[in-house]
């Protein structure tokens, strides 16, 4: 009988957390979603916009690295793309139905992502 750890391996969770926080960072760099999350009329500053974009790009790259390291150059990118899709769909639903909660989940998930990435032994 397969244990739970075989069914939901660490690298997948790390990738999911990384891609989710990447999308959160990228969406916070966009006017519409920044306003959705922080209240009407709020606009991201130039610095935080830049930071969001960098963070997002970095996290997506890190997710790619985790995938390739875990499942190689063939299956890794496939897993990466699939996880990105699922994470983005999750965020779209969250931004739509509970936009304020993104502030509460964004940071913890980013920390979790770092932790999980460390745990997979990449960094």
């Amino acid at each position: 009988m397969m244990g739970l750890i075989d069914v939901i391996p660490l690298p997948f969770l790390a990738t999911l957390a990384l891609t989710y926080s990447a999308w959160v960072a990228l969406s916070l760099a966009m006017d519409r979603h920044y306003a959705d999350i922080n209240g009407r009329g709020a606009e991201p500053s130039a610095v935080s916009r830049k930071r969001g974009r960098w963070l997002g790009t970095l996290a997506l790259t890190a997710a790619f690295a985790v995938c390739v390291r875990d499942s190689g150059w063939g299956i890794g990118p496939v897993a990466w793309l699939g996880t990105m899709t699922v994470a983005a769909l999750l965020l779209v639903l969250q931004l739509c139905y509970a936009p304020k909660s993104v502030l509460r989940t964004g940071k913890p998930v980013l920390w979790l992502a770092l932790l999980l990435t460390l745990a997979t032994g990449l960094l």
Binding site: M2, F12, S27, R32, G82, T85, Y97
Partner: protein, 544 residues
């Protein structure tokens, strides 16, 4: 000029999409289900749930299968053995009996297959006969009730249109990055467009991949010209080059005993560094020209083409080792094909593929609905003056109901039939499939008779209740329901996963139906009468 180009692409996107969307919806739904083909088949054979984990070595299983074949089908022209593997733990044998002597030339022999007990070789007692997930898999490119060749041309035609729709859709979508995360519910046409965009863009790599690779799987049929030129019209020698299993000589007509199987199996597995075999094919068993082909289990890689070895069936000498070092073109095809069928995926990646597939279903469904919503708005003034909608819109709306709300009913009916029909019924697989098409046919006809909001609600509720009822039905008809598989943690996990998935799909359909009803009440209160049908419910996308 740029605006003009975009507009022409928008036109192309609209019509290439609309023309084929109902077939595509079927292909997407059945194809998505096919990721769990083995699991669905297992679920549909509850008699096998208990014997799920009987450990047995490949050599033992092969010997049992061979003995069974020798007694059950001594005159067959081919024997097939499918050894137990990770996802499909049953031992399966199959054989082709030669066509009767008086049959017209080119008649193909009849294929029979059985699941047997790996210890005794007897047919598993009382395992219900069903095509299981295989039916859904075949449905997604062979359709049904028509020659497979026609069906493949139809599906290929639709897939080609899909590819056109994807590319033109990306060009049409001006705000692909700005609207990346955007979904605005309860805004009518806007919401449908958002839902269509989100399900399309966020899973775009998947949609492109699955459509393109889908065409590649049947490329030899759609584009035979390269082969005809290179092989000077000799298709058979091409197929013998590409598919080693097609190397199948004529029988000598001289009886000779078959060489023992076990040493060959050991030799093959040793050659593959211990990776086990998954299948054995024996051509012309008992004849002097017998050959034995052994295929390797898939190793975790994108390429679906796996090595195999051919042995002389009488002497046991190695004839050839195939697919060990395949050429670039064939490897490319193997990888594209492999990506489409996703056999390399572990359970988790398989779930990701499944979710992306659902997203594809939602994309097709929302696209079809979007056309209807948009076109209906063009009729707003006419409708207000008491006029009626045009034939085209009525047809599309009815087809939408029949496909999007009706197809889930058909799927559910198939699973219900599997549990309710008598286990020993003759022609049971056909009966199950009939249930699928009868349910779908009724839904589609009713939709044509009355394509309105109430019909959406009825059909969505029917689908929802049928899907949500499946786990409950299991409690009464099997001993491997969720109470056993999940709460008592006895497994098999794939059976529990099936029940949970249909439950979730049922809840999604129920949400869509409930949302539709709520919206109608509100609209009724506001205006005092029913407003024109406005299928703008966001949750409908989950219905897909």
């Amino acid at each position: 000029m740029r605006e003009g180009f975009r507009q022409s692409m928008a036109w192309l996107h609209t019509w290439s999409g609309l023309l084929v969307c109902w077939v595509l919806f079927l292909v997407f739904c059945a194809g998505t289900a096919s990721y769990f083909r083995e699991e669905i088949t297992l679920w549909m054979k509850p008699e096998l749930h208990a014997s799920h984990s009987a450990p047995i070595t490949n050599a033992q299983a092969a010997q049992t299968a061979l003995t069974a074949l020798q007694s059950k089908a001594p005159d067959a022209s081919r024997w097939f053995i499918t050894l137990p593997a990770e996802r499909s733990t049953a031992l399966r044998i199959g054989w082709i009996n030669p066509p009767p002597k008086d049959a017209p030339p080119k008649t193909r022999g009849k294929f029979t297959s059985q699941i047997i007990d790996p210890l005794t070789g007897e047919k598993m007692p009382d395992v219900r006969d069903t095509r299981g997930g295989e039916f859904l898999y075949r449905l997604h490119f062979d359709l049904h009730y028509m020659p497979a060749l026609w069906a493949r041309w139809i599906v290929g035609f639709c897939a080609m249109f899909m590819l056109v729709a994807i590319v033109s859709g990306v060009i049409t979508h001006k705000r692909i990055f700005k609207d990346f995360f955007t979904f605005r519910p309860k805004k009518g046409q806007r919401s449908w467009l958002d839902a269509h965009n989100a399900t399309a863009v966020l899973a775009l790599p998947y949609h492109l991949m699955i459509t393109y690779t889908g065409l590649v799987t049947l490329v030899f049929m759609y584009m035979p010209w390269g082969i005809q030129t290179a092989y000077k019209g000799n298709q058979e020698s091409f197929f013998a080059d590409v598919f080693p299993s097609a190397k199948n000589g004529k029988p000598a007509g001289k009886p000779m005993p078959l060489t023992p199987l076990q040493p060959l199996l050991a030799q093959a597995e040793q050659r593959w560094n211990g990776i086990p075999a998954v299948g054995i094919t024996i051509n012309h068993p008992g004849d002097a020209n017998a050959t034995i082909q052994i295929r390797r289990q898939e190793e975790k890689g994108l390429n679906y083409i796996q090595p195999s070895v051919q042995f002389n069936g009488v002497t046991g000498a190695l004839v050839s080792a195939d697919n060990e070092d395949i050429g670039g073109a064939n490897a490319t095809r193997g990888v594209l094909y492999g990506l489409h069928i996703g056999h390399f995926a572990n359970p988790l990646l398989r779930v990701l593929f499944f979710l992306c597939g659902l997203s594809g279903c939602a994309m097709v469904a929302t696209g079809a609905l979007l056309w209807a919503v948009k076109t209906r708005q063009g009729y707003a003034r006419k409708l207000a003056a008491g006029g009626r909608v045009g034939f085209g819109l009525r047809l599309v709306e009815a087809l939408n109901i029949g496909a999007i709300a009706g197809l889930p009913i058909a799927f559910a009916a198939y699973f219900w039939a599997n549990r309710l029909l008598p286990v020993a019924m003759p022609k049971r697989p056909d009966a199950e499939i009939s249930w699928f098409f009868i349910a779908w046919g009724v839904a589609a006809v009713l939709a044509q008779i009355r394509p309105d909001r109430r019909m959406w609600q009825w059909q969505l509720w029917t689908g929802a209740l049928l899907f949500m009822g499946i786990p409950l039905l299991n409690v009464f008809t099997t001993s491997s329901h969720l109470g056993v598989t999940l709460f008592m943690a006895q497994g098999p996990w794939s059976v529990a996963g099936f029940d949970l998935t249909v439950l979730a799909l049922g809840i999604g359909l129920a949400l869509a139906a409930w949302h539709l009803g709520r919206k109608k009440k509100k609209a009724g209160k506001k205006t005092g009468k029913q407003r024109p049908q406005e299928t703008s419910e966001a949750t409908l996308q989950e219905a897909a």
